[in-house]
Structure formats: C-alpha cells, structure tokens
Symmetry: C2
Subunit: 374 residues, 2 copies
C-alpha cells in the first residue's frame, strides 16, 4: 500500500505540495527525512523524532546488512520493531556507500563485490538481492541498487555507470513484489544535464513508485547541482514522488523544493550538530566559538525547540567543550527542528500560494544575519 497525491503544483519544474500515504502513515511533502544509518537517528529516541515533526526517517541497507545483519533484524520482527520507530522508513540501497566506504569493490553486470569497511569481509550484492534485503527489513520505501560514480568522472566511465544503473533498475523492478514496500528508481548521469534528462525519461517510463536523483552533492558546485535538478525533475512523471538523495544545506532544500523535489535526506543537520555547527534563521554558528562562553541567549532567539527554550549558548558551549554527550543531543535536536520546521514552513507557503515570498524572506534573513550578528 503506497500512494502519492499531488495537492498543489505550480507546473512542471515548479514547487509541489503533496501527500505520500504508506501502510505506516502519511508523509506530507516536501519532506526531510532524518538519517538513521545504524537503526538510530544518532543521539535521539523515536519519540523525540516524532516530537520534532519527523514523519519518515531514512536508514541504509548497506550498513544494516553489515551490522547487525538483515536476517537478525528480520528475526526480531523487522526494522520498525527493532528500533522502536512506528512511522514510515525509506532505506537507501547502499549503492552510494559501496562506492564511498567499502575498502574494495569490483563491479560487473551481475552485481558488485566489495569488502566490508568494518572488517574486510568479502560480500557480493545484486540488484535483486538488495530488493530482497529491503523487503526483509519491512520498510515502506526501497531504493534500487545503483552505481554512484565519483566526481569528477571520465565520460566513458560515467556513461557506463549511468547505463548500468538503468539496467539494474529494470532488474529490481522485475523482482519487486509490489504488495509491500514501494520501489524507487535512481537517476544517475553525473554532471551531464542531457544524460540526467534522458535517464529521467527512460526510468520514468517504467512503473516505479517514485524516483530519486542520486550522485548529487558529491563535490560538484551548487550551480551544477541545481542545473541537474532543472534537467531531470521536469522529465519525471508528475504524479510520482521525487527524492533528491543526500542533499543538503538549508538553502539546497529551498532550491530543491523550488524545482519540484518532494523528498530529501542528509546527514548535515545531525553530523554537523555533533561537530558543533548550529543552524539558525540568520545562518550557521559554531558553538565552540569563545564569543559564546558567557552568552545567556538561546542558540536562535527565533526558535521554539526544546534546546532553545531551556538552554543558553554558554551552557551548550560548556557541554560541547567538556565533550558531554548531552551537547550532541541538544544540538542535534535543535538542528533537526530547524530542518523539519523549514520544510513545514515551505509546505505552509505552498499551501497558501506564497512560496516565492517565502524564498525572498528566507534569503533576506540570511543576508542580514550571519555569525557576526548571531
């Protein structure tokens, strides 16, 4: 059971408001998915995620396959029960991880063999097996195994990877059992706008439940990222959800929504929190900065999150400098609140037909703000 309803759209290549319906609940789009790589959104409980307004989270079949193992999770009743998260889950196929983390990999038409980045064990995965693993986890949305080329990449190599990803998507579709999870295809194509468009069209003709752009935010400049969205998104079927994988900063989400993307995920809010970077309406700040040592203000005076309602920058800086785990929790809470609230504000603006105003105000605040004025 999976459905996507377009509530409001400003035309092909324009922003969209929608609702995804899954067996485990509704997801209002555009939506941001907090990242729970190892069956935990780092530092937080599921109840806290719900309190922050998260309606769907992302996990990763590559990581769970290596540790603790998909079969173990299946035996224990599936990923939702294992991690105590009742809502929808999307799992990435691990294509990106195999190509960025594994100590060794060898690609063939059949699949990919690689060594675990944890212990060097040799593994072999095929597109079919990756669908099977995600079905065993019991998630609501599965991603096809893809080959994620590096950036920069030789054209011949990029072409080969892009076409292999397409053929693997067809094989994934052939084994997809449909009664459970939705299957999304991944559009590759590197920084070639024409290949992105071609792949979007070719995959869009196949009956996937949704589509993603992969291989973005891997080192290319922002103009290129946005150009790839401009090329691919309008070429995808309008009535299916569109997901930009692994992106990005707050402004990237705004730009993605403006171009018609519906789903996002990124480690930035959670990982940067653990490194002390905090997002605010006027731009980011680094909590370890000595300027905050005696600062009684909350991280963001405009923010309504638990952290901002109860703690000063001085206290948070103290916890961070003392490497106290509560620092990572409180900063993670704040950053995810910021991201999820940003998405909620965009949805409200879309519903009210004032998304252009929202974008102007978003950039105006950042232009006037910045750490110097924080």
């Amino acid at each position: 059971m999976f459905a996507f309803e377009l509530v409001r759209s400003e035309g092909p290549g324009g922003p969209r408001l929608g609702v995804m319906t899954t067996a485990r609940g509704r997801v209002e789009t555009p939506a941001f998915m907090p990242v729970g790589t190892y069956a935990t959104v780092k530092t937080l409980t599921p109840e806290e995620l719900t309190g922050l307004g998260a309606q769907i989270i992302l996990s990763n079949v590559y990581h769970l396959y290596l540790r603790p193992g998909v079969e173990l999770i299946w035996r224990l009743g599936g990923l939702h029960r294992f991690m105590n998260w009742p809502g929808p889950i999307l799992t990435d196929s691990g294509g990106f991880q195999i190509f960025s983390l594994a100590a060794f990999r060898r690609i063939s038409e059949e699949g990919v063999s690689f060594r675990s980045h944890l212990n060097g064990d040799l593994h072999f995965l095929t597109p079919e097996r990756v669908v099977e693993l995600q079905e065993a986890l019991g998630v609501e949305i599965m991603m096809c195994l893809d080959e994620c080329p590096p950036y920069p990449c030789e054209e011949a190599e990029l072409r080969r990877a892009t076409e292999l990803t397409y053929r693997w998507a067809r094989r994934s579709l052939a084994v997809w059992r449909r009664e459970g999870a939705a299957l999304f295809a991944i559009v590759q194509g590197g920084t070639r706008a024409d290949w992105r468009r071609e792949q979007a069209q070719a995959l869009g003709e196949l009956p996937f439940a949704g589509y993603a752009l992969g291989g973005l935010s891997v080192g290319e400049d922002k103009e290129t990222t946005y150009a790839m969205m401009d090329a691919a998104l309008p070429a995808l079927p309008e009535d299916k959800p569109r997901y930009i994988m692994g992106m990005g900063l707050p402004e990237d989400l705004v730009e993605g929504v403006a171009r018609g993307a519906d789903l996002f995920d990124c480690v930035i809010p959670t990982r940067n929190a653990r490194n002390g970077q905090v997002f605010t309406a006027t731009g980011p700040l680094m909590i370890r900065n000595a300027a905050y040592a005696q600062d009684p203000r909350p991280l963001d005076p405009a923010c309504g999150c638990y952290t901002c309602r109860h703690y000063s920058r001085a206290y948070l800086r103290h916890l961070f400098q003392a490497r106290e785990m509560l620092a990572y929790r409180l900063l993670t809470l704040h950053n995810l609140y910021y991201y999820l609230n940003l998405m909620a504000e965009m949805r409200q603006a879309l519903a009210a037909g004032r998304f252009a105003d929202f974008c102007r105000e978003f950039y105006r605040q950042r232009h006037n703000g910045g750490e110097a004025r924080g």
Copy 2:
C-alpha cells in the same frame, strides 16, 4: 531554609525513613543522588531525571570551578538555571577530586594548592573559599572541604588528614552564612573504626545541617566499609541527615540503608552504563556479551523503565557495538531507574515496617539469578 524530619527510625544504627525539605523541594530519604559532575548527569536531560524519580542531584565544585568556572555560572543566574534542573542540588567540595585527580597538590593548614588536571594551571583553595564558591553556585547542600587520604595510608598520615579535615570543618562552619544552603561536615578516619567514631562524635557536636562519611569505597574491602559505617553512623546526631559519599553497588546501598544512612551518590549506575554494564534484579549483565546478539527480551523483564518497555537486548547490544550514543542514553536511563527504584522500594519497605523482608528478598533474587540465568 533546610529541614530534616525523621519519619520512622528503627533506633541508632538501624534503618531510617525521613524527609529533607529544601528551598527547591522535598527529598524523601533514604535517597540516591545521580551524579552531574559537569552540570549534566551524563547523556540525560533534567526532565528525564525527574521522570526517573530523582529528587536531588549531585554536582561538584572542583570540576565546575575549573570548567566553566563558578563566576560564569553565577553570572548566568546560578547552577540550577545554567543546567535547567529545578530541584535540589548537593555539591561535593572537591576534596576527593583534588586528592584523586589533580596533577600536583600541596597541603597546608591554610588550604590546598593544586594543578588543574585539565591544563596544569595552579590553584589554591581554602575551606572558606570552597563554602563561598558553593554559595555562589546557589546549591541547597554544600560540603566542607576535606582531605581525603588514600587507601592504604600510613597511620600518622591518616591521623593528620583526619584532624585537618576536622579543623577545616570548623573553619567552614565559621563562615557559613546559614540563610541559604545547608552545610554538611565530612567524617574521615580511613579504616580506623575508633577514629571514625571519634570524628563522628566531635563533628556531631558542632551545628552542621548534616554529616557525611568520606573516604569510603576507595579500595578497602566491603567488610571494612560496612564496619566504618557501623562505627560512625550511630555516633552521629539522630536528627540530622547522614550521607555516604561515592558509594556504591546496589548491595552497598542496601547495607548503607540498613545501617542508618540517608543519602548516597555514585558514578556507578551512569559510568557503568556507558561501559555496557546493566543492573537487574537478578544481578548485573554486560550488554556486549555475544549471548545477547539475538535476544528479543528487555534488559530486565521485571523492569518498567523506558528502555525495558521499548527495546530488546539485541537492539541495545547492536547500538553498543556500533558505539551509538543512544546506547549510552538508554543504558544510563535503565541503570538510574534501577537505582532510584531500589531506593523507592526501600522507603516503601521502611514505611511498612518490613525492611528485613525486603533485604531477604533482595539477596534471594540475586542468589537465584546472575548473568548465566539472565
């Protein structure tokens, strides 16, 4: 404002039920104080501590003096506001830390000079200054600066430290302003029962708000620890609270309560949680044990804590092996729940006049249990 009421007592040297009243609320005794060294009970929020039933927490003037500094906390409105904990706080004077952590120390009649274990800076503290620092933090209960001798210790050295601690207690008393925080004296005396008794009597004649036994659980065997309690506790004034510092395992709390102690603190439930040791009714278990890799049961089937209501041993082991911070949070929650619930059960047993039954049942469960049966 500070008062202690003895609700029920089984006579000198026997268990007691009481209530401490402070400006920031009541504390039912016997009570366990979670340790918040750096103005945070590691991994948890104040709301979680309240949810666990904590009525008072402990912090440490030595640590806060070094980082972030007492003056900074004072400027920001005091320790409660700084850390967002609304209830009573007891601060240790730092005597134990100066003697166990500092890189260098030189003791004189006047006070103690030492180098910070963080950066080597030289500091000098006197008993008077330590009272002043705790008053600046705004806590409800302050401890006198003491000299905490090591174990084992030469008799002459032990005698000197014990007597200096007494003279420092008198000096602390002389500068105590009384309108705010309560001041507790610390009984030293090492493993000499006669000196413990003598010190308890001598300090007990002075008008402190309460008394503590320091320098226990520092390496001596359990029989000795209990013998020191047997010697000192009955010699203290019956109408004042009695606090055993830095102790201990669950059985130590039971033995302490049985001997008439009212307050306890220890890093064991929190620190051991972060090392994967979990307390249960049938004894401790180590979550990293491979036996739990596929175990669907909660940590303790008899436990009602958040962790036990929502997570399997298999999931907790996975998080712990992956070094996920949520592991430390969930195990800390469980262990503190165990400790605080143990104290609540002892108070209930005392109120019902069946403490002896409680002790029998406590030891029976552990005798029948243990990790092999966990």
